[in-house]
Every structure is written in structure tokens, then in C-alpha cells.
């Protein structure tokens, strides 16, 4: 069992709480990503799990053991750091072996483990090099090798890819995923990059201001964000959020954006009672149809700027005076996009959030992902 359980975990520096009682269970062999903007407490949480920060309150268990007061080395975790934390004076093989040496593991055993790990990570040819002579990706791999070689119960990753360029990052992401599939070790991974979170995670934990906003699989979070924060954080470009008022329409409640524009919320029975309430309507840039497939309500818009991305393009527009982004396939041509005057809403995908609390009122499309 290498489950990690956080119960009401609190971290405070003096009077200031930076983590406000987190509950989280990471199952054995699961890959969980903590994501959130900087300062949200995700790294602090990870460091508490590692034992680098004292836990101010709550209970932390790894396996079946409560480890609040157990020294980092006895928690049986391994951590990969953002700047790799490689020892500049040791070569790759010595860096990888460092943890084992400290534990006075038999020399032959160390040699065997190091070469095994080096093989897994493709570092066999670099074992004699010093970190200064390695590329960023290679350093990253050595850092992971150092974690792997100890066969810990839990891997902890602290933004391990943020020092790499975009291309390497994509490559390393895949490698980490492959590694996890191969080793099957419980992993907790901290990042501020939602793409990394989406691609790597079994489950994502979205954090903000020291609290958990939502826990779920990548698709759950994408499809059903529980509040405006998660909606805005997951997905790229982020979900368009437009102020509206619920009004009673012909076929049921509608979200009125302006005097002339309303979006029908036809299937939302629960919203009937909310008539007159101020809400935020959330529409993902991908969930917009430029040509009606049949019966979708249309909304007029004004195109400000076209950003071609190749196979797709981003249309920066305004709807009822508010900015609105649309992502659409180009099929090799963007000239016509300037002429668009209206769009159609896939009513099934529209989200409605309470303006005041920001939490979701209406999930148009329940748990399809």
C-alpha cells in the first residue's frame, strides 16, 4: 500500500495560513497533479508531504503510517526538484547513486541499480559526465534517475519541467508518463501549467489560495468545472465568461447578455426558479459553431483579430461589448473568418455560474468525459 492521505492539512507561517486544511487521498499507483497559479500553496503542500516543511495542522499518512513527525528520509519518498538539484561536483553516476550511498547500500548493488536506471533513462553513455556538461533534458533525466533508483513508495515532482524549453517539455512529459506506466509508483506532481496537468494526470487537484477548488480526472475538470476559477484555469484558451441575467424565454430560461442577445438554456429545468438572477455564462472557445448545424441559437459578434495557429485559428471578438475568443478549424484558409458576423452556441455545452459565489449552477452536459 502506498496510498498518500492528507487530512485537514494546514500550513501557517506565524499568523498567516498559506494552506487552509486540505483533504486529499492519492491512491496507490495513481498519478495526481497539483495545479494552480503561483502562490496557491501547491508546492508547500508537496514539500509538507516530502517532509521539507513542517505540518502546522492535520494529519498526513503515507502507506498506513502517519508521518507528520517522521523525518523525510524515513518517509520513503523521492523528490525531483525544479532546478534538478544535481551535485555539481559529482558525475551522473555518482549523482544517481547519492541516495544509496548515504544509505550505505552495498557497492555492487549500487552499481547494478545505477546502470539499470541509466538504461531506463537513456543515460548510459553519460554516466561519467559532470552536470555542467549535460543538456537541460539530460539533467532532468538524471534528477529523475536519482529519484527512481531508490525505489520509493512515492515520487514527488516539484515543477520538474519548468526550466525546459517548450519542445523538450513536451518530450519529457511523454517520458514521465511512460515511466509512470512502467514503474507504477504513486506520484504527486506539482505544476502551474494546466497542459502538463491535463496530459499527465490520472487525477488533477486544482488549487487556489491555499484551498482545493476541485479534484477530478482531466476530462471531468474540463467538462464540468465546479466554479469559475477551475473553468478559467483548465483549458486553453480559457473558457469565455460572459455576464448575463436569467430571464424566462419562450422555451424556458435564457441567459440574457444584452438587450438584443440571449442564449437559450433550454434543458435547464433547475434554472427556472433562478429567473432574474445575475450569472456568468461560460462557453469554451471550442464549443462555438460558426455555421449552424440545425436550430442552434445564434449570437452576433464583432471580430477584432484573427490569430492563425495553423490547423486552427483563434478569433478574438467581442460579444455585447465583452471580449470573446473562438477556436475554430481553418481548413487551410483564414480569409473568410474576418467576415463572420455571428456564431451559434452548442447549448449542451454551456455552463452557468452564480455571479456572486462563482460556483456552477448548471452543468449542461453531465460527466460525458
Amino acid at each position: 500500500m502506498s496510498q498518500v492521505v492528507l487530512e485537514k492539512i494546514v500550513k501557517s507561517y506565524g499568523e498567516v495560513d498559506v494552506v487552509h486544511g486540505i483533504d486529499l487521498t492519492v491512491d496507490s499507483k495513481e498519478f495526481v497533479v497539483l495545479v494552480g497559479p503561483s502562490g496557491c500553496g501547491k508546492s508547500t503542500t508537496l514539500r509538507m508531504i516530502a517532509g521539507l516543511e513542517e505540518i502546522s495542522g492535520g494529519k498526513l499518512s503515507i502507506g498506513d503510517r502517519m508521518v507528520n513527525d517522521i523525518a523525510p528520509k524515513d518517509r520513503d519518498v523521492a523528490m525531483v526538484f525544479q532546478n534538478y538539484a544535481l551535485y555539481p561536483h559529482l558525475n551522473v553516476s555518482e549523482n544517481i547513486a547519492f541516495g544509496l550511498r548515504i544509505r550505505k547500500v552495498d557497492k555492487e548493488e549500487i552499481k547494478r541499480s545505477v546502470s539499470e536506471v541509466a538504461e531506463i533513462l537513456g543515460l548510459t553513455n553519460y554516466l561519467d559526465r559532470k552536470p555542467a556538461d549535460l543538456s537541460g533534458g539530460q539533467r532532468q533525466r538524471v534528477a529523475m534517475g536519482r529519484a527512481i533508483v531508490r525505489h520509493p513508495q512515492v515520487f514527488l515532482f516539484d515543477e520538474p519541467l519548468s526550466n525546459l524549453d517548450a519542445q523538450l517539455r513536451t518530450q519529457m512529459r511523454a517520458e514521465i508518463k511512460r515511466l509512470h506506466a512502467r514503474l507504477g509508483v504513486t506520484s504527486i506532481y506539482v505544476t502551474h501549467d494546466q497542459v502538463e496537468a491535463m496530459t499527465l494526470a490520472d487525477r488533477i487537484v486544482v488549487m487556489s489560495a491555499g484551498r482545493i477548488e476541485q479534484i477530478g480526472t482531466p476530462m471531468e475538470l474540463f467538462m464540468n468545472p465546479v466554479n469559475r476559477f477551475v473553468a478559467g484555469f483548465i483549458g486553453s484558451p480559457p473558457m469565455n465568461q460572459i455576464k448575463a441575467t436569467i430571464v424566462a424565454g419562450v422555451d424556458g430560461p435564457e441567459a440574457k447578455i444584452s438587450d438584443s442577445v440571449s442564449i437559450p438554456l433550454s434543458r435547464a429545468e433547475g434554472l427556472a426558479s433562478a429567473t432574474g438572477q445575475s450569472v456568468i455564462v461560460g462557453i469554451r472557445p471550442e464549443d462555438v459553431l460558426l455555421e449552424a448545424a440545425g436550430g442552434e441559437p445564434s449570437v452576433p459578434l464583432e471580430v477584432n483579430l484573427i490569430e492563425p495557429l495553423g490547423s486552427e485559428a483563434l478569433i478574438h471578438a467581442s460579444v455585447g461589448g465583452e471580449p470573446f475568443v473562438i477556436k475554430t478549424p481553418t481548413h487551410g484558409d483564414i480569409a473568410h473568418l474576418n467576415d463572420i458576423r455571428q456564431f451559434h452556441v452548442n447549448v449542451d455545452r454551456v455552463k452557468v455560474f452564480d455571479e456572486k459565489s462563482g460556483s456552477a449552477l448548471y452543468q449542461a452536459d453531465q460527466a460525458r468525459g
Binding site: 516530502a50 517532509g51 521539507l52 523525510p72 528520509k73 524515513d74 519518498v77 523521492a78 523528490m79 526538484f81 525544479q82 532546478n83 538539484a85 551535485y87 555539481p88 561536483h89 559529482l90 547519492f98 541516495g99 548515504i102 544509505r103 536519482r146 531508490r150 514527488l156
Partner: protein, 307 residues
């Protein structure tokens, strides 16, 4: 014309970059004036120098001064003492600031650490004459702390400063007492430059504080240590002779007299500037060879070097 174009280029270059050369000028002038110009006077080591005749008019005597220096047992003894004291200083005095810095680094509590550091830095700012006075007092046979302690423990008091075998320990010890704290600042700065994540990583890996000191802190500040070591080796023969002059007695000459005190007695007390210059030149040549050797050894084995 190639020359003409080069001249034009130079003029252009100076017109454009004159500010930079202006900034460089004070240092270059300082070097020329205070380090290179005096080298001209070194020739008095090979002359029968008279202050009044001046450097140029004094007659050449070849290696006469060197011959008489190396004929003299006193000078040979001074060389021997210089090497012994320097070597002991290096062996004992050099690691002390490093050890101190490592110890400071282990003190977590801010106020205590600051207090300790201040106490250790303080002697650096005290004049040598006062340092010597303190040393003489501490080791006084009748009123010195050390001897009072010895007497309490039932030993006979020792007149330390007249015992040749005690001179070196006292000299090296007081040198360490005075300078180790201040010198540790360099190493503290180097330690502060070690990335904290190296320690965190080691903590997670299960390293103890002792292991972190040996396996992380020390190796990480090794380049600094080596640079300091090379510099130190360059100054190896520059034994702090002011303190020796203040502390030594004819009775301790046999262990205390170094090249510089020998030069001092010859040059300033005996007015033999030419002989003193010869001894000084010898000292400088040995120091130069030492620093070149140390540097090339270091460059070969640790990839760290002064140049």
C-alpha cells in the same frame, strides 16, 4: 597603406571608446607607479647602494649580496623558519576559517549566530601592537591567564615567550585568533551561494547534517577554497612579520626569525638596503615560483585556477 589605415582605425577607436580607457586609466597608472616603477629599484640588490649616489650611480657588485646572504647561517635559518612557519600556518591556519564558516553555517538561531560572528570578527579590527600586548599579557609567567591556569592545575609556570619551542604555536595561534573569523566571511559567502535545493534533495535522500557538510557544502565551496589556497600559497613566504617582530626575543630567534624579520633588521635597523633588497628579491622569486606551481597543479587536477 596598411599602417595608415591602422592608425585611422586607432584614432577612430579611441574617439569612440575614450570613456572606457578613462575608466581604466587610474588602475593602470596605479600599477605602473606603485608596482612597476619600484621594480627599477630592485637592481640595488646587485649594487653597492648609497642613498646619496642613488640607484643609477651606485656601483655594480654582481651577486655579492646574494653570496653573503647564503654564506650566512642566520639567513639560512631564516629561510628554514620561514618555510616551517608558513607551512604550519598553511596546515593549521588555512583550514580554520573554513571550519569556522562551516560551524557558523550550522548555527540556525539568528541572534546567537550574529553574536558569535561578531566576537570572532572583532580581533581583525584590533591593531597588531595591541594584539601583541594581549598575547604577551595572556602568556605572562606571573599574571597571564595561561600560567595562572597551569599553576592551578599544579604545573610550574612557563615563560612562554622566551621558549623557542613555544614561539611557533603562540604565533600561529594568535594569527588564527586574529584573522580566522574575518577570513571565514569569504567561505560563508560561498556557502550562501550553494542552492538550498541541494540540501533539500539530500534531506529527502536521507543525508545527516554531517553528511551534508562533507558531501555537499564542502565540495560546493571547493573552488573557492582552492582559489583562496592558491592566493595563500602566493603569500606563503609573507609571514606576518610585524607580529613576529612584536613577539620575538633574541632567545626565540632560533625558531622565530624569518626572512622578513631578517630583512627588517638588515635594512631598517642596519641601513643595508642593498642586502635587504637581495633578500627581498629572493623571497619574491620563491613566492612567484610557489604560486605558479600551485596554480598549474590546481588547473590540472581541479580545473580551478587564478588565470
Amino acid at each position: 597603406m596598411k599602417n595608415a589605415s591602422r592608425t585611422r582605425w586607432l584614432i577612430q577607436h579611441f574617439k569612440r571608446e575614450w570613456q572606457i580607457y578613462l575608466l581604466l586609466a587610474p588602475l593602470v597608472i596605479w600599477f605602473l607607479l606603485f608596482l612597476y616603477k619600484p621594480m627599477y629599484g630592485l637592481q640595488i640588490a646587485f649594487k653597492d647602494f648609497s642613498l646619496f649616489k642613488g640607484v643609477d650611480a651606485s656601483p655594480w657588485v654582481g651577486l655579492e649580496h646574494f653570496r653573503s646572504l647564503f654564506d650566512s647561517d642566520m639567513f639560512l635559518r631564516a629561510i628554514k623558519n620561514t618555510f616551517i612557519i608558513s607551512f604550519l600556518n598553511l596546515m593549521i591556519g588555512f583550514p580554520m576559517p573554513i571550519i569556522l564558516a562551516l560551524m557558523f553555517n550550522e548555527i540556525v538561531q539568528g541572534k546567537f549566530r550574529k553574536t558569535v560572528q561578531t566576537i570572532v570578527y572583532l580581533p581583525h579590527f584590533i591593531s597588531l601592537v595591541i594584539i601583541a600586548g594581549i598575547v604577551i599579557n595572556i602568556f605572562s609567567p606571573s599574571t597571564g591567564v595561561v600560567n595562572l591556569l597551569l599553576m592551578k592545575l599544579g604545573f610550574e609556570p612557563i615563560y612562554f615567550l622566551t621558549q623557542p619551542e613555544w614561539f611557533r604555536p603562540i604565533f600561529i595561534g594568535s594569527g588564527i585568533w586574529q584573522e580566522a573569523g574575518f577570513q571565514s566571511i569569504v567561505y560563508l559567502a560561498a556557502i550562501a551561494g550553494v542552492s538550498p535545493s541541494l540540501y533539500e534533495s539530500a534531506v529527502v535522500d536521507g543525508a545527516s547534517r554531517w553528511q551534508m557538510m562533507w558531501k555537499i557544502t564542502l565540495p560546493c565551496i571547493l573552488p573557492t577554497i582552492i582559489i583562496m589556497l592558491i592566493i595563500r600559497i602566493g603569500n606563503l613566504l609573507e609571514v606576518g612579520f610585524e607580529l613576529i617582530i612584536l613577539l620575538y626575543q633574541p632567545a626565540t630567534f632560533q625558531t622565530a626569525d624569518v626572512i622578513n624579520t631578517f630583512i627588517y633588521r638588515q635594512g631598517l635597523v642596519g641601513n643595508q638596503y642593498d642586502v635587504a633588497a637581495a633578500a627581498g628579491l629572493f623571497n619574491a622569486v620563491v613566492a612567484f615560483v610557489l604560486v605558479m606551481t600551485a596554480n598549474s597543479i590546481s588547473r590540472r587536477f581541479t580545473r580551478t585556477s587564478l588565470w
